[in-house]
Symmetry: C2
């Protein structure tokens, strides 16, 4: 059982989020807002792990209901944006998650970890909300307007859908190099295959009815993988 004043605090958060609190599992919601720097044994690690899958499921359902006319490549690009730490942290910050998150003093003072701390607690809260009802019902109505606003702004960007341009931006910003595309043999009639290489590793293989389409697909596959690797390196 959580303390009455903590429950009051969490009620405030739910009010901000306009989520009804009748069916909430308060213990899980409490735990979802305990950072590992506060306790190595009772914290939001597991709920973040669970919530990551909840988020991905809610996102693909949202995309199906709203962007079913888009090519799969666009949907994959939208998804990787909607589940990125940056986007999740921004939503969490809008509700002032940091005020409700219990954490060690040193963690609070560390600006470098603020983004991942917010994003992780956001996923953990999604985990707690799902597990309160064993369904997406508390999450969908609340999260979908956010997903909608973000999608609209992403789709309006001129670089959207141009994965080659986005990948080039990424490799130039990080290593002042360009990705290398290599056409490879394809056994299928009128199907082209292209690999994209960065730093001596192949990060994606694309297929398409033209070399250009195959390059775009290879870049789209490489983008999230390379971004993740850069993100991990940057945290260090």
């Amino acid at each position: 059982m959580i303390a009455p004043n903590r429950q009051q605090e969490l009620k405030q958060l739910l009010t901000r989020m306009q989520i009804p609190d009748r069916t909430i599992n308060w213990d899980l919601l409490d735990q979802s807002l305990i950072h590992p720097s506060f306790s190595t044994t009772y914290n939001n690690d597991y709920l973040e792990f669970f919530g990551d899958s909840v988020l991905r499921m809610v996102v693909v359902i949202f995309l199906r209901n709203n962007y079913s006319d888009r090519p799969v490549g666009d949907l994959a690009a939208l998804r990787s944006h909607l589940v990125s730490d940056k986007v999740l942290a921004a939503i969490a910050d809008g509700y002032g998650f940091d005020r409700f998150l219990v954490m060690g003093e040193s963690a609070r003072r560390d600006p470098k970890t603020s983004l991942s701390r917010l994003a992780n607690s956001f996923e953990a809260v999604l985990g707690a909300l799902y597990l309160s009802t064993n369904s997406f019902c508390l999450i969908k109505d609340w999260l979908e307007p956010h997903l909608s606003d973000i999608s609209v702004s992403v789709l309006a960007k001129p670089a959207f859908g141009n994965s080659k341009a986005a990948l080039q931006e990424l490799t130039q910003a990080n290593w002042h190099i360009l990705p290398e595309y290599k056409a490879i043999a394809s056994e299928e009639y009128q199907v082209f295959m292209v690999e994209v290489w960065v730093n001596n590793l192949c990060w994606g293989v694309g297929k398409g009815s033209s070399i250009k389409a195959a390059q775009q697909e290879a870049a789209a596959i490489a983008l999230p993988a390379l971004s993740q690797s850069i993100e991990i390196s940057a945290k260090s």
Copy 2:
């Protein structure tokens, strides 16, 4: 509407899988078993995209119901195994998915793509099963015994949970090198932080109450990322 003989064929597959066919959306199930080499416009690309999230959700629910006593690191390791192409392809192959998969002749003759073709069609079928009822009900009962068998065999391996050993195996097999671990400054009291570097990139940062625990965590983070990168490179 799909042709009656195709529906008969798909009924056979469902019988093999012991999935009741009353609530099946036959058009979606048909599409889930059409490889992009057969048609660039009507194929299982989208359902694979959707099914990937369905799979991850079913896997975390399974892990919650069966392995809630395990540390999160173990669950993450189990998950990355359960959603790997190799495991999915093996399940799909057990039901003879290739016989039901409509594909171009050249694709069928290409042994290099057989693994990803099976894994992708497996995910696409999960997508079609979810969307038939907008729930996990057709999937859970059928998939959980598989997840259970695989988990038991993975957990029985001596290397399980020893991410450092597994990572070392991976880098030695691929490049004859060892991962490099670097302790980095941690501002938290009695918390150690370690980075793991392979090929001049940092693939993971681990945290723990000892250097050894932090190294294990770093290796556990690096493993799936590095495996994925090697898998993509190998496909080329």
